[in-house]
Symmetry: C2
Subunit: 352 residues, 2 copies
């Protein structure tokens, strides 16, 4: 490469950067005055503008001058080679050790690689939330809000930063989202236990601020209340995620179990934690308990034989987020995403 590039090409670079920074807007100046202002000849300016036209940044209307195209700013950012970043935000308080699993980040990276985008995983403690929005890089950024609290979701909605929610959106929030079919899964799982004759059922989940928890709790309670054979004793048990506090909560829950009991365990609470606590602290009841794992990833199960469970559809969600991100980076506009991913039950299996 030499520095002897055409002056027109350098001017095109300059104009592209001005568009990208939003300094150059419609209506663009008339070329005669404009070339003087830039200190270049009219031919050079015309040639630079033809380059920008070929890139899809401007339209040249004979006799009426030059106009910026609607997506010009996004296209300019792209041709300027600025980094594209997907910032995945999760809460250090709600997820002290795991979000769901590493492969979902790797899958997202893989799909975005050819589009020049990277995924950045950001774990925020309460004190550090205000810094998120200030910390913006030079390139394009898309925020992915992973199971954030309603308060944080509203904060992002007000900020007008481009973002999408992975998980349940808070009721009053209208950001684009992709989530699992929590309602269908909860109803299906609860009815499965009730059909098998369990009149005492529990829903065990993490005590965290994600809106999915109260939503699933409501579905669970109403599925129990609607059941034709009453009474159904429906219990909701929220547990801390810190390991020793979780073990203490598991022991207390186990001690309350006295007979036939159906238990739905929502990831990231491991099924094994509840099952072993019952074996130890409610040993008489151990054989009379049945488990269903909800939105499990492999390590959350950790019991043998494997219980019936609904695996988290990591791969599908990664695909949907990747497509939305690519569309955003290419057009500058976020699709109005409202995806609900269905879930499949893997039945209990007893290995040979």
């Amino acid at each position: 490469m030499t520095f002897m590039r055409f002056r027109a090409e350098q001017l095109a670079d300059y104009l592209r950067e001005s568009i990208q920074r939003g300094e150059l807007r419609d209506p663009l100046p008339a070329t005669r005055g404009w070339s003087k202002e830039l200190g270049v000849g009219r031919t050079t300016l015309d040639e630079a503008l033809s380059n920008l036209r070929r890139e899809g940044l401007v339209t040249i209307v004979p006799g009426r001058g030059v106009r910026l195209n609607p997506a010009a700013r996004a296209v300019a950012r792209r041709s300027a080679g600025h980094p594209r970043l997907i910032r995945m935000l999760y809460s250090a308080h709600d997820y002290p050790y795991t979000l769901s699993h590493l492969n979902w980040v790797a899958m997202l990276e893989e799909r975005l690689y050819l589009h020049g985008a990277h995924v950045k995983l950001e774990r925020y403690s309460d004190a550090r939330w205000p810094a998120i929005l200030r910390r913006s890089g030079p390139g394009e950024e898309l925020f992915v809000l992973c199971s954030l609290s309603p308060k944080r979701q509203r904060l992002f909605e007000r900020s007008r930063k481009p973002c999408l929610i992975v998980g349940q959106p808070a009721p009053e929030v209208s950001l684009p989202f992709v989530r699992c079919d929590h309602e269908g899964m909860m109803r299906h799982a609860t009815h499965r236990l009730l059909r098998r004759g369990f009149a005492r059922v529990s829903f065990v989940a993490a005590r965290c601020a994600a809106p999915a928890i109260p939503f699933m709790t409501d579905v669970f309670r109403s599925a129990c209340a609607e059941w034709p054979r009453q009474p159904v004793d429906a219990q909701v048990v929220l547990m801390p995620l810190e390991l020793s506090a979780m073990a203490t909560a598991a022991r207390h829950f186990a001690a309350s179990i006295t007979g036939r009991h159906g238990i739905l365990v929502m990831a990231p609470i491991p099924v094994g934690m509840i099952q072993t606590a019952i074996t130890r602290y409610a040993s008489g009841a151990a054989g009379q308990v049945e488990f269903i794992g909800l939105l499990t990833t492999e390590p959350d199960i950790g019991v043998c034989p494997l219980p019936a469970h609904y695996p988290a559809p990591i791969e599908r969600i990664a695909g949907i987020v990747a497509n939305a991100a690519i569309r955003y980076f290419d057009t500058g506009a976020l699709p109005t995403l409202r995806k609900i991913v269905g879930l499949k039950l893997i039945p209990e299996s007893c290995p040979d």
Copy 2:
């Protein structure tokens, strides 16, 4: 910014890139001939060189011309604003669902943010390995090899790409590394079980190609062989990581247990998987078995009460990798890292 200043800045960009690629070296040409060669006016060249001086790339000695500063190449890389990328590679075969945990990636991101570096998680299947080295970006890249097989480690050593190993390096590989004190942990854990009178002990780990597994197996066997009170029945059980195959292996292992038995379970095999299999398939022996978790992250435990375990020192390893990466990006040289991180036993705890 005007177009004329933009032109000088572009020249500075061009010169910076030439320095970075090592094309521009001392002695630099005299500015008169140089500006002609570049096809720019002397004012533009002078302005570009002032920019480089301010960045610490060159020194301008009045009457004696311009000289490159010693660290110019590294500084140029940095100011060129190219992305700095830490590519964390792991094997899709050895780690079908989890590497260790998401927080370690987030911790690394957090520490590298201010240094303009990002972490990219790459999961490779066998067929895709050859593509890794071809797929290089425009910026600086540092590879972090996460528990890769000896074959892959050698591939990287031959490639001379900048990389460091997280985990056990293969015996003949001399790349920089940071690993846990596998030897100390295995000896300590094995002796703990033997001191408690278990004459039958097992080491349960994942069947994967990471060199840590044969290394730990050797330490385990020799710790058993050296024990003063013989015979010691030492068994090594390698299990697949795919969930249902793991459950089958856990059942087979459980069925072989007949009495007092001490079991070391290495993450990512969950302690719960083995414990529940024993409760179910070796119920007579269940009360006579004791577990120790090795290099556990929270989800790998998943049992209540919590067994004695050595937590994976995620935070320390993230710190060491981050510091090595920052030093590499700033100076262009990788430190000769040979770190062995000590591990602490958290004793068994019975929650109230």
